[in-house]
Symmetry: C2
Subunit: 140 residues, 2 copies
């Protein structure tokens, strides 16, 4: 686990290194798919890590602030998911509408398009979301 990065970030912002923060970060690091707060909660329960769902929410919030974790919102899912950000390229996702599987897309095609949008709208673009849905090879 990126314990050093976690510790450094927490210290730098006057926060404490706790069991639960380490457990949540550790779980996200060893899970390939983005997890929802509920999934984090349930998985840690299974692993006998005592943690409240409220604490999961507060923890992912902190991890986001430290830049260690990214929050993603998939199409019509009605809940946020979290994944490790540190050491990974900016990317997007595709989700199967049958089985719910989530796969990373390794390209983000929006850099050029962002320039175009800025000149068209006179906005200063700060961020974007891009998510695809469809059928995965198994569910076709």
């Amino acid at each position: 686990m990126n314990a050093a990065g976690l510790k450094k970030g927490l210290k730098a912002t006057g926060r404490r290194v706790t069991r639960t923060r380490q457990a949540v970060l550790g779980l996200l690091e060893r899970t390939p798919q983005p997890l929802s707060a509920t999934e984090i909660f349930e998985q840690l329960q299974k692993e006998n890590v005592a943690i409240d769902l409220v604490t999961v929410y507060r923890t992912v919030h902190v991890l986001k602030e430290l830049g260690l974790v990214a929050q993603i919102e998939l199409h019509h899912e009605g809940q946020a998911r979290y994944e490790i950000k540190e050491g990974r390229e900016h990317h997007h996702h595709i989700q199967c509408q049958m089985c719910g599987a989530i796969v990373d897309l390794l390209l983000c095609p929006l850099k050029k398009i962002t320039k175009l949008i800025e000149s068209q709208t006179k906005f200063v673009v700060d961020d974007h979301t891009l998510e695809f849905t469809g059928l995965c090879p198994r569910c076709q």
Copy 2:
């Protein structure tokens, strides 16, 4: 108002032409921005159209099924918005993170990219979401 389209769609699916359905469609047609269910509810109240919030939700659901209205979900807004679909090109939006203003983007750059993603992931892509956030000219 596209009363003909509404009537035709409703009849074709064994549904009834009601005051509330006409009122919701009419409001969406004369409002340039996408509206949330609560905003539809409040605006119709102002106009002395008696309607319950529950009915707004049920109505936009029907209008979506008829293909007359599109549901959009902006970045971190936590609520869906609805806009007229009929007669309009497929498009996306940019929202100002200061004042909340929503502006249409007149291009969708994802047709070519969709092909690429399909060959990369072996998914069959069905839909996508793409939303930008930033600062509008006034708020910069």
